[in-house]
Amino acid sequence: MDLKSLKDLMRFVEKSQFVEFEYKDDEMHIVLKKKEAFVADSIVTQAPQPVVLEANVPQQQVKETKEEEKKEEKVEEGLVEIRSPMVATFYRAPSPTSPPYVEVGDEVKKGDVLCILEAMKIMNELEAEFPCRIEKILVENGQKVEYDQPLFLVKRLD
């Protein structure tokens, strides 16, 4: 079969309802499958667009996130969660009288401080690992947070 014929065939299959097409020559072996052929095995893998659901957070967190958790989350496309890398108390500002580090709508650079995580009387500054826009702040000022808890919902800008 020449390239033109192959392209033609590919276009043809693309427009068709078949989700699987197999063809062997000489021995003539054809397999054609519509999507219905896959029902039951694979509801999950048939999701039309693979949405990035993982949180993108500092340290080694992404790889810790488990498959099961991903399903639970309903994060819009392109948005990622920044999660707490420790058990701590969350503060939006360095002191009660200072303005918050970030507000919703702010665009931050890599390395900008997002918040303070206070643990065992140590003030830990949480920095952005990538440029992003703050879409939502998920915890209250002064709130106690656990490891892996989502703190910010952001849109990556890189």
Binding site: M86, V87, A88, A119, M120, E146, Y147, Q149
Partner: protein
């Protein structure tokens, strides 16, 4: 009494402590790694705080996160369970700093009793029989050769800060001695961070017998009988029973008395266990464990007490709720530790529990955090259930245990259930004719 207890542990012991708290009307806080989100202890506790990723070092052993979880939870006491941070004096000090009661001995006592060689020396001075050996750890190779000769071969090299068989070597003659010493030092350093080694007379055919004690803040110390933990695989306990089937009544009483005396000499508070070797004639103190142990239900079932509740009460400053005279063994009790392991080769067998039938009926207790659908994680200890039975006699308990092992169905992971069926029907087990080497020799082909 406490209002809220944080349990700094996971698995069946976390579930066990939560149960005791619930029955005492105390709120509970579980801590968990991301691996344990769906675990039973998280479901049963009133609150739960995620403390890190799956690796124990970054979660259950992460002092920083556990401490902050204690602070955030607003608890007024912490139960450490066994393993993890349960024998870490720094953790006890952190609890003190946070103004939260650590359920166990104080930091000073825990630290002092962690030096096994020193503890032996103190007890020796106070007339408590210990295995003949060096006074404290041996620093240089010349003294080692001298000490070993004086004790007489075979001898045992042991890590002063160790446990679980690590940093331990049997030496049968002087020409093996130096090599073994160096290897033990390396292993001790790698496992426990300190390489102090001490020497003991090696007892060829010992029974491992331990005494459970509990002490309050008012100077009351009682024992809750002994547990015979002779059945071990590579120094790991597999099966425990109480009363010990090899002790004569006179020796048993003397052992109990000795353990209580030793606890008093050491100034011990809360629940603890004194371990002894028994050579068929005499017993010798080897070490004290400053925490609740895996096999505590054996004593609970034998004596009809609740050790976890008692630990909590004693920590809250109450007097012991029972006197020594009220404690009599009512049954013969046997416990099997069911591990998720290949029963032939003892490799861990993590996976998901698909089918589950837990034995029940009269005289049976099961402590487990596993339910139908539970995931057995490769990150943590492979023990998934403790099966404990009582009987009017050892033979009734043995038959009940076999009946329960027959009933036990755990699908999806391999377990040691079939292995226990073999052990419990050996002539050696039935007739009490075995020592701590039995399993290694008989089933693993090890001398």
């Amino acid at each position: 009494m406490f209002k809220k207890i944080l349990i700094a542990n996971r698995g069946e012991i976390a579930v066990r402590v939560i149960r005791a708290c619930k029955e005492l009307g105390i709120k509970t806080v579980a801590v968990y790694s991301t691996e344990d989100r769906e675990s039973m202890h998280v479901k049963l506790a009133d609150e739960a705080i995620c403390i890190g990723p799956p690796e124990a070092k970054k979660s259950y052993l992460n002092l920083f996160n556990v401490a902050q979880a204690i602070a955030n939870s607003g608890c007024d006491a912490v139960h450490p369970g066994y393993g993890f941070l349960s024998e870490n004096p720094n953790f006890v000090r952190i609890c003190d700093d946070l103004g939260v009661k650590f359920i166990g001995p104080d930091a000073e006592t825990m630290e002092r009793l962690a030096d096994k060689a020193k503890v032996k020396a103190i007890l020796d001075e106070n007339g408590i029989p210990t295995v003949p050996g060096s006074r404290g750890s041996v620093d240089d190779e010349d003294s080692l050769i001298r000490v070993a000769k004086k004790i007489g071969y075979p001898i045992l090299l042991k890590a002063a800060w160790g446990g679980g068989g690590k940093g331990m070597r049997v030496v049968r003659s002087e020409n093996e001695l130096i090599d073994a010493f160096r290897a033990a030092k390396l292993e001790a350093k790698a496992s426990f961070g300190r390489d102090d080694i001490y020497v003991e007379k090696f007892i060829e055919h010992p029974r491992h017998i331990e005494v459970q004690i509990i002490a309050d803040e008012f100077g009351n110390v009682v024992h809750i009988g002994e547990r015979d933990c002779t059945l071990q695989r590579r120094h790991q306990k597999l099966l425990e029973e109480s009363p010990s089937p090899v002790l004569k009544e006179y020796t048993r009483k003397k052992l109990h008395h000795t353990a209580v005396e030793a606890a008093k000499v050491l100034g011990y508070k809360n629940a603890g266990t004194l371990e002894f070797l028994f050579d068929g004639e005499d017993f010798y103190f080897i070490e004290i464990n400053t925490r609740i142990q895996v096999e505590h239900p054996v004593s609970e079932m034998c004596y009809g007490v609740d050790l976890i509740k008692e630990q909590i009460r004693v920590s809250a400053g109450e007097e012991l709720s029972f006197m020594q005279s009220a404690l009599e063994p009512q049954f013969h009790v046997i416990e099997c530790r069911i591990n998720a392991e290949d029963p032939e080769r003892f490799y861990p067998s993590p996976g998901t529990v698909k089918g589950l039938y837990i034995p029940g009926g009269p005289g049976v207790r099961v402590d487990t955090a596993v339910a139908c659908g539970s995931k057995i994680s490769p990150y943590y200890d492979s023990m998934i259930a403790k099966l404990i039975v009582r009987g009017g006699s050892r033979e009734e308990a043995r038959k009940r245990m076999l009946r329960c092992l027959d009933e036990f169905v755990i699908e999806g992971v391999k377990t040691t259930v079939p292995f226990f069926k073999k052990i419990l029907t050996t002539e050696e087990f039935i007739n009490n004719n075995y020592d701590t080497n039995f399993i290694d020799k008989r089933f693993l082909g090890r001398g």
